[in-house]
């Protein structure tokens, strides 16, 4: 039995502690907002926060999250950065198919928490791990800037 703190709720789960958090969230807790994309930390679709830091939940195991705070897309709106990012995403109609957007938003919220006024280089660096096949990158960049209150170049 392990106890996980997910979006502020303590959840007792009968799962192996080497299980990647992705499957604990999706298959055991039925929290399907966090997406499976590649299973190798290459696409960012499964990004969550552990104690506020962005992590790829397809690689991060249950054991490393014990005693820490897990935040997922279902809970990120409760943080100031997450809320601003979601609002900007809505305002600029960022998503297309939407499948990668949970991960994009989690990475963007973590970026703003660390760099409230990110430069283009910051955005490139911190968002390069999140793939979008629909090509929403220009709108993601613009929405991050809108959420941060910085001007588009």
């Amino acid at each position: 039995m392990v106890t996980l703190n997910v979006n502020g709720s303590l959840r007792n789960l009968d799962i192996p502690d080497d299980m990647p958090l992705l499957w604990a969230l999706r298959d055991v807790l039925n929290m399907t907002g966090t997406k499976f994309g590649c299973g190798q930390g290459l696409c960012g679709a499964c990004t969550i926060h552990i104690d506020g830091h962005p992590m790829r939940s397809c690689l991060a195991t249950v054991s490393i999250a014990i005693g820490k705070r897990i935040t997922t897309i279902e809970g990120i709106g409760a943080t100031p950065e997450g809320k601003r990012v979601q609002e900007a995403w809505l305002a600029l109609d960022v998503p297309q198919c939407g499948y990668c957007q949970s991960g994009q938003i989690m990475s963007a919220a973590a970026l703003l928490a660390e760099s409230p006024k990110p430069s283009d280089a910051n955005i490139d660096e911190r968002m390069a791990g999140n793939i979008c096949r629909c090509g929403t990158y220009p709108r993601i960049r613009a929405a991050i800037k809108q959420a941060a209150g910085v001007k588009e170049a």
Binding site: I15, P16, M19, P20, W23, R26, D27, V28, N30, M31, T32, G33, T34, K35, F36, G37, C38, G39, Q40, L42, C43, A45, T72, I73, E74, G77, Q86, W89, L90, D93, V94, P95, Q96, C97, G98, Y99, C100, Q101, S102, I105, I123, D124, E125, M127, A128, G129, N130, I131, C132, R133, C134, G135, T136, Y137, P138, R139, I140, R141
Partner: protein, 720 residues
């Protein structure tokens, strides 16, 4: 839908029947008041004048969408068409995925219930406005009868019928029972485009809310009581067979309940995906590699090259191109090659199936619900009404979900499993068992006169036929695959005598090719727009002016070329290592021109920095969606042009995941400026032409920067 269909009394009967079948089984979910997207959950709305619309006594309007949302914005643009004529606030419309039905939900521009070919607006621009207008007329008539006034003295606005002279008002909800008893009008008049309030005005997407808070449901998000998870491995070589699995070791993994063996695949079933993955690794499947064990790219390309030396099936023949080229003042010829491509949708292939005593339920995201249903009927022997398809938002389509191989696999597995099972493909499985964009091999040559003007043109395309596989060989016309010769047989430029032919050459048995964003236009546009650039260079003329001069009967094409060029500062000098390239795509009923500005570094790194795109797609429904689709198509096309390539070695795909099948990332995405050309021509498709256009625009820019002609995609390390 025609007026005859609108009048058909069987429609309401069908909807009632769907409700009866669907009722207890289906999962519905509400997102937000604005842009509610529901799984097929038919309510008992009293007013259902056609297959697309239901209005409840509360006034709630539900749109049953014949086309599925896969990112292209159809869950906003199609409701806009309905709302424009129905006179309701589009933001209040709830959207449901349609059930499988190739008749009720046929795309009239295609002939089956298919979301593809950039044909959702083209297929439904008329029918959905008619559906909305017919419903409005019935509601207005019902109100007029209640008030005992002439219907022509009433009008509708924002879901209310108004009798202006007396100020009386009745909401649609109060009228649905009376409206349902009225005949559906045979003929309805539609608004003049000048009266449009919604169509042509940018409107926020209706499906965004669920996509920013994690509540939007894709097929892979299906969760059912008692559902198990299965991870699949198919024969790594095309045409191989399963010979052994260590079932005991697989079952020793905690959570694993079952190993399902098929002739050419194995699946491990478990209580969660992690256990299923571990179980599959423990099962260590052994394969007979089959007849393709030694097949590699050199064999495949060699076959294509030899095929392209044979005369092909003639797609276009005007004049004697061979003779004209032979005596032309100057000759230009080239061979172009384009690789196999995977779709790599962000949502990996998956399908959830429950076999029941009375049939089966299937939860997935598909571009072809009706064809999927038919495939499952064929596999299982079940009747149509016993195969219930529950469609979902698609985590990317790009053509991958026009095939139903994943559903057939999932049903084969579910037939051996008790209770619902979700079959998930790992990313490696998804990349290595895709149905690929064909590897194409094009030979092209032209003769120019003394002024550099083309007088003869000859183009032979060799590659596999998607039409023959998908629709059957009977769908070919005299040996020509009309998709494979797209943008070549219908070349828009004046080139004098012209000969275009096609040689079908299939890849190794067991390897299948399929639709990929831009389809034939993506193949054809790369070749003809690159070659047009070669001719301009040979003629020592500006590539823009050269094209314009050969397009004198194509004013819309000339216009988009001029706009894209002007916005880009065409002709202004650039720094060393920089280049500008231009290309035109006429396709899907639209005209797109793009200019790419590229920097080629000293190390040969290719960096497209800025892109200008002009699009004339006729009537615009949601202009912001058109912009988004241009951005999307450009980045999708750049991924392929710069990096995309699936290669075969010893009968298997070499690439495995996003590490070796690279796609564009944030730092590689150029700035994109889109210009929309406004007019009232028939609506054209916007999902695909930008993908087709960007590849030659990029490689033409590379030529301008470095003088190197890219005749084989991807660009990859060719400049290094």
């Amino acid at each position: 839908m025609t007026n005859r269909d609108l009048a058909s009394p069987s429609r309401r009967g069908f909807l009632t029947a769907t409700a009866a079948i669907g009722g207890g089984l289906l999962l519905g979910f509400g997102l937000h008041a604005r842009g509610e997207v529901r799984d097929t959950l038919t309510t008992d709305a009293p007013f259902a004048p056609n297959a697309f619309l239901r209005i409840e006594r509360t006034g709630k309007v539900t749109f049953v969408s014949p086309m599925i949302e896969m990112g292209q914005g159809t869950y906003t643009s199609l409701p806009m068409l309905i709302a424009e004529e129905l006179e309701v606030d589009v933001d209040t419309i709830a959207i449901e995925h349609s059930p499988a039905d190739d008749k009720l939900y046929v795309n009239p521009a295609i002939g089956v219930q298919m979301t593809g070919a950039s044909k959702s607006i083209r297929g439904f621009y008329g029918p959905l406005r008619q559906a909305g207008a017919a419903a409005r007329i019935m509601l207005v008539t019902a109100a007029a009868q209640r008030w005992e006034v002439d219907p022509s003295t009433c009008h509708a606005e924002s879901g209310v019928v108004v009798h202006a002279s007396t100020g009386r008002r009745l909401g649609y909800g109060a009228l649905v029972d009376a409206a349902a008893r009225l005949p559906v009008p045979e003929k309805v008049g539609l608004k003049d485009p000048a009266e449009f309030k919604l169509i042509g005005t940018p409107h926020r997407r209706l499906d965004t809310a669920g996509k920013v808070d994690g509540s939007a449901k894709f097929g892979i998000d299906t969760r059912l009581p008692g559902m198990k998870f299965a991870v699949l491995a198919q024969s790594p070589t095309f045409g191989g067979r399963l010979i052994a699995v260590d079932e005991a070791k697989a079952k020793a993994v905690r959570g694993v309940s079952q190993v399902v063996r098929l002739d050419d695949a194995v699946a491990v079933v478990a209580s969660h995906t992690f256990a299923a993955k571990q179980g599959l690794a423990a099962a260590d499947p052994q394969w007979d590699p089959g007849p393709n064990a030694k097949v590699s790219m050199s064999d495949i390309v060699g076959q294509l090259a030899r095929a392209s030396e044979r005369p092909g099936a003639v797609a276009r023949h005007e004049g004697d191109a061979a003779a004209v080229i032979a005596r032309a003042a100057r000759k230009v010829e080239a061979v172009y090659e384009q690789p196999f491509l995977a779709h790599a949708t962000m949502e990996p292939m998956n399908c959830t199936v429950q076999m029941t005593t009375d049939g089966c339920d299937i939860w997935l995201g598909t571009q072809v619900p009706g064809m999927t249903q038919a495939a499952v009927m064929k596999l299982t022997g079940l009747k149509r009404e016993q195969v219930r398809i529950h469609n979902h938002l698609l985590g990317g389509g790009f053509g991958r979900r026009l095939d139903y191989d994943g559903t057939v696999r999932a049903v084969q597995i579910a037939q051996q499993v008790s209770g619902p099972v979700q079959v998930i493909w790992t990313r490696e499985e998804d990349i290595q068992h895709d149905l690929y964009r064909p590897h194409y091999y094009d030979r092209i040559r032209a003769g120019l006169d003394a002024q550099g003007k083309p007088v003869g043109w000859s183009h032979r395309i060799a590659g596999s036929s998607i039409i023959a596989r998908y629709y059957g060989p009977g769908a070919m016309k005299d040996g020509v695959d009309r998709d494979a010769v797209e943008s070549s047989a219908n070349l828009p430029y004046h080139v004098g005598a012209i000969h275009v032919d096609y040689v079908q050459q299939e890849p190794p048995a067991g390897m299948h090719t399929s639709w990929w964003r831009g389809v034939g236009a993506t193949r054809g546009t790369f070749v003809v727009e690159s070659f047009m650039d070669e001719l301009a260079v040979s003629a020592k003329q500006d590539p823009l002016a050269y094209r314009i001069a050969l397009l004198d009967k194509q004013p819309r094409a000339q216009n988009v070329l001029r706009i894209a060029a002007e916005r880009s500062g065409w002709g202004r000098p650039l720094r060393a290592g920089q280049g500008r390239g231009i290309a035109l795509c006429i396709g899907f009923g639209s005209f797109v021109a793009q200019v790419v500005e590229v920097i080629v570094g000293k190390d040969g790194a290719v960096n497209p920095t800025h892109l200008w795109c002009a699009v004339d797609c006729g009537v615009q429904v949601n202009p912001d969606t058109i912009r988004a689709q241009m951005e999307s198509g450009i980045i999708f096309g750049l991924s392929a042009a710069l990096h995309g390539e699936i290669t075969i070695k010893n009968g298997r795909v070499e690439q495995t995941n996003f590490g070796d099948y690279q796609v564009l990332r944030m730092h590689e995405a150029p700035r994109i400026d889109v210009v929309l050309v406004k007019n009232l021509e028939a609506p054209g498709g916007v999902g695909e032409p930008a993908t087709s256009c960007v590849m030659p625009a990029l490689t033409n820019a590379i030529f301008a920067a470095k003088g190197k002609r890219i005749r084989k995609l991807p660009v990859a390390n060719q400049l290094r």
